[in-house]
Amino acid sequence: MAILGALNPMLTVGLDGDKAWHLADYVKRGGYTALNKVLAGEKMTQDDVIGVVKKSVLRGRGGAGFPTGLKWSFMPRAFPGDKYVVCNSDEGEPGTFKDRDILLFNPHAVIEGMIIAGYAMGAARGYNYIHGEVWEVYLRFEEALAEARAAGFLGKNIVGSGFDFELFAHHGFGAYICGEETALLESIEGKKGQPRFKPPFPASYGLYGKPTTINNTETFAAVPLIINGGADAYLEAGKANNGGTKLFSVSGHVNKPGNYEIPLGTPFSTLLEMAGGMRGGRALKACIPGGSSSPVLPGSIMMDCTMDYDSISKAGSMLGSGAVIVMDETTCMVRALERLSFFYYEESCGQCTPCREGTNWLYKIVHRIEQGQGRADDLDLLGSITTNIMGRTICALGDAASMPVQSFVKHFRDEFAYHIEHKKCLVPPDVQRAGSGFFKATV
């Protein structure tokens, strides 16, 4: 079981044993009751469903934290012809590994959520776009789909309601950019995964040019909980304006890296404790709270934060996808940034100029600083390049590549300056090696 711990869990309740992902087990845990409630029991209207989701203040779990109910209300339901619901399981953000566990261990929650979403937005077809590097997850989801189809939860006339919905799994080939919603749509259409210029937004021009709503895996999985437990109960499980619980993928220098489900608003210190505390009892140096594209925060600031959209945002970062990357005092921040910058350079789709050229330039500069060949004005140059990228690209990847650079330099400027001046790390190499967990410190 890959969910290592939970505090008042909702999504990961009862996920014990190897069979928990099967339909039978899911139904035993109360699965598909929400679907029954919507379509058969209470015969909720589309507006009812969207209203409940709105009221729960469920915010998008993929990274942007956009209120889900509001997004659903943008769909032109009266639009004649095809409409689509798409699940974004293209989990490519470094540090994030929650969706794969949801799909592996609780796939039916996503399926149920998508059917309800399809009903609420008048879409008869859904796609789940699954990251190409987690093949077994894709196979598992296909199996779950087969179960749902056999049980009549997918297909024609679902639970006797007259509502038809078909859902398909689609796997990518691992490009990070395909997690960007419009690139994802292009990829489903069989084209090269490159973001589209917006507007028009997917709600008016989405998959195959039809109205489309795209939500994250975890967002869809939360929908049945909201329908069953009610909007208020879900909202109360978190904190005001931050409804519900959330999965956090904790990685880095902690004793028990893994996925943890906690209510939004839980103090970071509690999460850190659940993850077994800092490895080797070392001090917390820095933390990236929401996946590699969210700005890094120094340990001291992080320890005062609670894990919810508003608190992290106030501290100057983003809750993002909930990927908490923990770094202790043995970390060289230049080297950490170099790795991140390489990632964004490598994953830039190459379509628009600032990102294509800028991400590579950023990487080259950070790389040379790390190699001891930095120049006195490099930090200003980095700042200037990020300003030239941010807000000028087709999609958010340019911003995502710039924010780490800006925040690393902002919070750890001394360390970068030291690197440039002394042509070596502020953190001695053997300390870094010891921190990696694979070597013993010689001093």
Binding site: F197, P199, G350, C352, R356, L381
Partner: protein, 778 residues
């Protein structure tokens, strides 16, 4: 209309415009690379970022729609900072070696770098290197490191040419424009990508490094090739044509030209150019002075007229000749007492002559194509015969118009077709008749007499339905329909279909002056011989203007036989070619279109006059001058012209934009169904790069895939019936002539047919383009 403000200037722009459109309206320039008015919006170069009031970020002008009350600042600090930032990014990996770049001096990046670039670079690492690619003889991709990834070329392929031959592979700064692995760029419109490329990444292979753009003078001209009459800018250096570019004319060629028009100029300076008059003396052609040659021709022609009568002389022009040349040719011929003059050298069926109400033409303006709801093209190798006309139909089909095609091969026109019928040449009229009958039924009219026995197929029905729906429809006949032995029948059937559906009838026309030839009356008298008969019934004397009979006639076998027996063959031609040396008695060097003034009347009847752009090569002289002087030497009246304009004004009213007398009405052709002829039928296309004497001599075009030597193409079951293996050598025979070709399986060829191209030396011994043919193992 929306009220907006650009740089403080109030403007009214139509709703749905982008900021870029609006800026163009008010005359504000916004720098850009990827934006092009004819292509879809990519918004990927980010050069057009501008400030919009209340927007937190700069917005791309090309992709941002205007809203009421919007205030746009194209040169504010925010906008200029964004533009300069993008320029810096574009330049970091772009080689800064403009002095050795072929695009230097006409480079959008170079121009904008002056305004938005910095004099020194903050980028000090190694620049990206992108490997060169070989994509064929026309477009050079030798300097791909210069590419700025605007994807104009990619979008051009997808949207205008109809085939995605280039794409952007890879991610990040390793993105590269390339073809699918190992493929070449073969589109007949590919050269436009060179114009579209804002940097020196895609350049013209024949032109590159032969001149700098600022050394070239730009002169206006008109294409002598297909019937569209594309407007050209010809660039000249030191009395030599260096390059041909499109001259924008939205009503005609928009901003495009086909590769044939772009690269045929290489033929102008071909080693086969005839530079001095030649006369056959003691069996061999010798160079002589003009006065000798003209005296000789004059005496010889008069001699024939005197001994055998004027009707023993026949004259054949070409639809690539100018209006003035064709006019003087017919005047001269008639002056000699012969009515046997024609310019429709690839036509077979002339039975409509005398039944036409006027000059056949397209039946509508080119600019009206986009407003059609349905169009039917009958008998055409659309893409290769009329690249830009096909492009207009492609855009129509993309928009909502239903385009259908009835033809003799299943070649993909790269148009999203509503219906397509592919039949053997002798069934072409029957196929069209099926649509006529279906349309009559739809309109509740009685079945036209003669078509009772026909049962329209489902596709005919669908085509008829599309032509009966909507407001604007057109039925156009292509080259195959005009060259067909059923031409009159096809004309009459199409006219009937147009009447039934309330559509317009038209002919695309096979060359630059297909309409002009009619206007110049270069047509045989009722009792005289037409272009086919003048060789069928051999004459004593021939005057040939701009034709190479073994390549340009419907039945070259017959033409050559007639010419060989004639007492006198006078050729007015810019080129001396091997075949002519056998039968020509006099060669008079005339000027190609770049060396003479003249007029082409395009398919829509548009009168387009042009001047010469360079002096004639050697002793070549403009055709109209040669004919004028010959008229004088012959002592004919009415040959005292001072200028080509004078000649033109005798035919068309001065300053008229369109010619008068256009009509496609036909009267007195009874419908009849044709029975299937036994035996194999030939399908002869005129390959795009063999279609006229000039293009045949363009070296670069001759290296393209479209210029491969003809093969005998049959569908697999026909091959099997004949017991011929794919790839084996076959002997194809028509009449006395034969050709040795390779057999190729081709499913686009109908059953019982062999596709053997015309207009090529290897098939010049064959006879009728669509006649019966024999194929046997060699």
């Amino acid at each position: 209309m929306l009220d907006i403000e650009i740089d403080g200037k109030p403007a009214q722009v139509p709703a749905g415009s982008t900021i870029m459109d609006a800026a163009e309206l008010v005359g504000a320039y916004i720098p850009h690379f990827c934006y092009h008015k004819k292509l879809s919006i990519a918004a990927n170069c980010r050069m057009c970022l501008v400030q919009v009031e209340k927007a937190p970020k700069p917005m791309p002008a090309c992709a941002t729609p205007v809203t009421a009350g919007m205030k746009v600042f194209t040169h504010s600090e925010m906008a200029v900072n964004a533009q300069k930032g993008v320029m810096e990014f574009l330049l970091i990996n772009h080689p800064l070696d403009c002095p050795i770049c072929d695009q230097g001096g006409e480079c959008q990046l170079q121009d904008l770098a002056v305004g938005y670039g910095s004099s020194a670079s903050r980028y000090q690492e190694a620049k990206r290197v992108v490997f060169h690619k070989d994509v064929g003889p026309l477009v050079s991709m030798q300097e791909m490191s210069r590419c700025i990834h605007c994807t104009r070329c990619v979008r051009f392929g997808q949207e205008i040419a109809g085939v995605m031959e280039l794409g952007m592979a890879n991610r990040n700064m390793h993105s590269e424009i390339q073809t699918f692995v190992g493929r070449s760029v073969d589109s007949e419109l590919s050269g436009n990508m060179i114009d579209l490329c804002p940097v020196g990444a895609l350049t013209s292979k024949p032109f590159r490094y032969s001149a700098r753009s600022w050394e070239l003078s730009r002169r206006k001209s008109v294409s002598p090739h297909d019937s569209l009459g594309a407007n050209l800018t010809i660039q000249v250096k030191g009395n030599r044509v260096m390059r041909v570019l499109p001259r924008e004319n939205e009503a005609v060629n928009e901003c495009w030209i086909s590769d044939k028009e772009r690269f045929s100029y290489e033929g102008l300076n071909s080693s086969e150019r005839l530079q001095k008059p030649m006369i056959r003396v003691d069996g061999a052609l010798r160079e002589v002075d003009w006065n000798v040659a003209l005296d000789y021709v004059s005496h010889a022609l008069k001699d024939i007229a005197k001994t055998h009568g004027g009707e023993a002389i026949a004259a054949l022009g070409s639809a690539h000749s100018t209006l003035e040349e064709l006019h003087l040719l017919q005047k001269l011929t008639r002056g000699l007492g012969s009515g046997s003059v024609d310019f429709r050298n690839r036509r077979r069926d002339f039975s409509a002559d005398g039944k036409l109400a006027g000059t056949p033409w397209l039946g509508l303006k080119l600019s009206e194509i986009k407003d059609l709801d349905a169009a039917l093209v009958v008998g055409s190798f659309l893409r290769k015969d009329h690249p830009l006309f096909a492009q207009r139909l492609r855009q129509l089909a993309k928009k909502s118009g239903q385009v259908s095609l009835i033809s003799v091969t299943g070649d993909d026109p790269l148009i999203n077709l509503h219906g397509q019928l592919t039949v053997a040449p002798d069934q072409l009229a029957n196929a069209l008749a099926g649509v006529v009958k279906a349309a009559a039924a739809l309109k509740n009219e009685v079945c036209p007499a003669g078509l009772e026995a026909l049962t329209p197929c489902a596709t005919s029905q669908a085509i008829a339905e599309s032509l009966c729906a909507g407001e604007q429809r057109a039925i156009v006949l292509g080259n195959v329909a005009e060259q067909s032995a059923q031409a009159a029948q096809l004309h009459a059937l199409a006219a009937e279909l147009a009447r039934l559906t309330g559509g317009r009838l038209g002919f695309i026309g096979d060359a630059a002056n297909s309409v002009g030839g009619y206007v110049a009356k270069a047509l045989p008298d009722a009792t005289a011989l037409n272009a086919y008969e003048m060789f069928e019934k051999p004459r004593q004397g021939y005057v040939l203007l701009g034709v190479e009979p073994e390549l340009d006639c419907h039945n070259p076998q017959q033409a050559i036989a007639a010419l060989k027996q004639a007492a006198l063959v006078v050729m007015l031609t810019p080129f001396k070619h091997q075949a002519a040396l056998d039968y020509a008695d006099v060669l008079l060097p005339t000027a190609p279109f770049t060396e003479t003034s003249g007029t082409f009347v395009n398919c829509e009847g548009r009168v387009q006059s042009f001047n010469g752009v360079v002096r004639p090569l050697g002793e070549a002289r403009p055709g109209w001058k040669v004919l004028r002087v010959l008229g004088n030497v012959l002592g004919l009246a009415g040959f005292d012209y001072e200028s080509s304009e004078q000649v033109r004004d005798e035919i068309v009213a001065p300053d008229s934009e369109f010619v008068g007398g256009l009509s496609n009405a036909i009267d007195g052709v009874a419908f009849s169904l044709s029975a299937a002829a036994g035996g194999l039928q030939r399908i002869a296309e005129v390959p795009i790069y063999f279609a006229d004497p000039l293009v045949r001599r363009s070296e670069a075009l001759q290296k393209t895939r479209d210029a491969q030597a003809p093969s005998a193409r049959l569908n697999a079951s026909t091959l099997a019936q004949l017991g011929i293996a794919e790839g084996s050598q076959v002997r194809v025979r028509q009449g006395q002539g034969e050709a040795l070709l390779t057999a190729r399986a081709d499913e686009s060829v109908p059953m019982g047919c062999v596709r053997v191209a015309a207009a090529h030396a290897t098939t010049a011994a064959l006879a009728d383009m669509f006649g019966t043919i024999n194929v046997e193992r060699a």
